[in-house]
């Protein structure tokens, strides 16, 4: 059962990504990408990493994609709607994908843990995850924090508005 679910979810993730990169309309592309992230989250859950699954949904599908949407709307990138054919054709793939996802999710949620396991299962609780992160990969965490600091410095520099007359900041 888990193997079947895995293949279905992989197909959804691949299909959604494929449709995502071929869309002309950036808003549609983002919607498909969200589907791909949901499918990935389910795969993580299937492998016994519920925390990573939750983060996949919260951070990628939630925060980052909302940011994407926000920027797309701000830049007014969306082309006019008439280019993508009649209504039902536009809705069909997204309905299929999200329908499959919902069914898979329900199956995962309500299936017995015994029957759901088909892959060699290692359950990574948030506690195990935290231990691994701060014990094994402590240096990696520190490097990432340094990196974020300097990426922020760079982003600030690149995005800074040029003043006409250079003045000392107050």
């Amino acid at each position: 059962m888990a193997a079947i679910l895995f293949y279905i979810l992989s197909a959804v993730a691949l299909g959604a990504t494929l449709i995502c990169v071929t869309r002309r309309n950036p808003v549609h592309a983002v919607i498909y990408l969200v589907h791909a992230f949901f499918a990935l989250a389910m795969i993580f859950y299937l492998f016994g990493a519920p925390l990573v699954a939750a983060w996949e949904v919260i951070i990628y599908a939630g925060a980052i994609m909302v940011l994407f949407m926000f920027i797309i709307m701000m830049l007014e990138l969306a082309p006019d709607q008439t280019t993508e054919g009649p209504g039902w054709k536009r809705w069909l793939p997204v309905l299929l994908l999200s329908g499959t996802l919902v069914v898979c999710t329900l199956l995962l949620m309500f299936a017995d843990a015994e029957t759901a396991s088909g892959v060699p299962r290692y359950y990574a609780s948030p506690r195990t995850f935290g231990y691994a992160l701060f014990k094994e990969y402590a240096l990696a965490v520190e490097i990432v924090s340094f990196q974020l600091l300097f990426a922020a410095v760079g982003a600030f520099y690149v995005g800074r508005r040029e003043k006409r007359k250079p003045r000392r900041a107050p």
Binding site: A138, F146, G154, R168
Partner: protein, 487 residues
């Protein structure tokens, strides 16, 4: 609480990351100090950055006889890392020395410039001392992100913007390959530790033929070869090198390239040792391709900065020859060659920094007509660096190439060495042409705008000394490079 103490205090050994830690501290302090410096004055910042590099050098050198390991085997300050760290420090130091006047001239006296160089150097150090895929990958990211910003530093110049954006997009793309490869290798071996991967593959020889292992090895190679700038992943190099600020181009051609090479060496020889047959045959072809493509396109260039960019591609090809050999002489030859290349290439770029006008439209072959007689010091220095880049005896370039090709011959790759020497002969043409323009053409102008700024002159002098020291008495440094090997 007990648990907390237990996990927080385990495996921490600051000695193993001391050099990069010092650089990060200096980088962050500089960010703060910049706030208090008057706008447009970056000279004090450059001196503080140089002091930071010297302090780091002390810590890096201290690890020479006293290897430090720490953070659950994620990082090792062994001799290999120490030697590489010295290469990075030289490239960062020479870059900072030539930068200050250049930034003033181009009208971008930016406070973020020096901290970013320090931080890029710290990233390179993490790559060299990383014994875990995660550390190496994160070091690479730290290095790359700093370089993306530095390449696009001149916001008002279209070329610089192009360089930054191009490097960013292609770099992010290639990083994807690298991570994919690491993930596949992790999937095979169940560990990200380089030495453990090697051990696993040794005890499970059946996994060597597994398509997942091969694919992982190939994807990791793609990621690193991109950073090294090897053909066919070299497309970004010329545009980025031409568009980026000249000192940054110099830095990119030496430090980061060396970092990617040494990390690549560690992964291939320590981790993917079992696949040596596969990656040597791959790198054999790519080394020849890289040398040839770089040299042949360089012949056609009229812009000297762009010419040096293509020549840097071909030099990456020579370094890969040492990796194909994968023996003591070859790999220590890579270390030696990267040090030699740092001196000769950064020296050449320092001359370009001084010779350029604002906007650098004059850095063409015609722009150098008669330069040697009008500006004798710079002319002679440039000639020395070009001769070294060609690989003429008594210079560092010759000694480096000699060791690398000797390693290849000893490992039985005679044809590879022959092709390498033939390629060096091709490169004579475009290096000599610059000298022909400098000495055998009528000067079109008197180069009155060229002023000898202290910083750039010091970096030229250090480079000249380095080129001759490594060229005339290479034995000592070569011996150290051989001691630095971990196999």
């Amino acid at each position: 609480m007990d648990n907390l103490m237990q996990i927080a205090m385990q495996n921490v050994n600051y000695g193993s990351i001391m050099p990069s830690l010092v650089l990060c501290i200096f980088g962050m302090a500089l960010l703060l100090i910049n706030v208090f410096l008057p706008r447009g004055k970056t000279t004090p910042a450059s001196w503080i950055a140089l002091i930071g590099l010297v302090v780091t050098a002390v810590f890096a050198a201290r690890g020479w006889g006293d290897p430090q390991f720490g953070f659950a085997g994620h990082v090792a300050l062994d001799k290999f890392a120490s030697f590489s760290n010295i290469i990075f420090l030289f490239s960062a130091g020479l870059t900072i020395l030539m930068s200050d006047e250049y930034l003033q001239r181009e009208g971008y006296p930016i406070g973020e410039y020096y901290p970013l160089i320090l931080f890029a150097t710290a990233g390179a150090m993490w790559m060299a001392s990383g014994t875990d895929m995660m550390t190496i990958f994160l070091g690479l990211e730290v290095l790359s992100i700093s370089l993306y910003i530095l390449a696009g530093m001149f916001r008002g110049q279209l070329r610089s913007n192009e360089a930054g954006l191009k490097y960013f997009l292609l770099g992010a793309f290639s990083t994807g390959f690298l991570v994919y490869g690491i993930a596949l290798i992790y999937g095979v071996s169940g560990t990200t530790n380089v030495a453990d991967i090697g051990m696993y593959l040794k005890s499970h020889p059946a996994m060597l033929g597994n398509p997942m292992t091969i694919a992982g090895m190939l994807l990791i190679s793609v990621g690193f070869l991109f950073k090294i700038g090897a053909a066919p992943f070299h497309m970004w190099a010329p545009d980025v090198y031409q568009g980026a600020p000249t000192p940054i181009t110099a830095f990119m051609s030496a430090g980061p390239k060396a970092a990617a090479l040494v990390a690549f060496v560690r992964i291939l020889i320590l981790g993917l040792d079992g696949l040596q047959g596969d990656w040597t045959s791959l790198l054999w072809v790519l080394a020849v391709l890289t040398m040839t493509v770089g040299n042949i396109i360089a012949i056609n260039q009229t812009n000297i900065k762009r010419m040096l960019a293509y020549s840097s591609i071909s030099h990456a090809g020579y370094a890969l020859v040492g990796l194909v050999a994968a023996n003591q002489i070859g790999v220590s030859g890579i270390l030696f060659y990267m040090l030699a290349y740092t001196f000769m290439n950064l020296g050449a770029f320092a001359v370009l920094v001084l010779a350029g006008k604002k906007g650098e439209e004059n850095l063409t072959l015609e722009g150098f007509a008669g330069f040697g007689f009008k500006r004798p010091f710079l002319g002679v220095a440039m000639s020395i660096f070009l001769i070294s880049l060609m690989g003429i005896p008594t210079t560092a370039g010759f000694a480096g190439k000699f060791y690398i090709f000797a390693g290849a011959i000893k490992a039985g790759y005679i044809w590879l060495a022959v092709l390498g020497v033939l390629n060096s002969a091709v490169s004579l043409y475009y290096y000599l042409r610059v000298m022909v323009y400098m000495y055998f053409k009528e000067p079109a102008e008197d180069y009155g705008w060229v002023t000898l700024h202290a910083g750039a002159v010091i970096s030229i002098i250090i480079s000249v000394v380095g080129v001759f020291y490594l060229g005339l008495i290479p034995g000592k440094v070569m011996e150290m490079a051989r001691m630095a090997l971990f196999f």
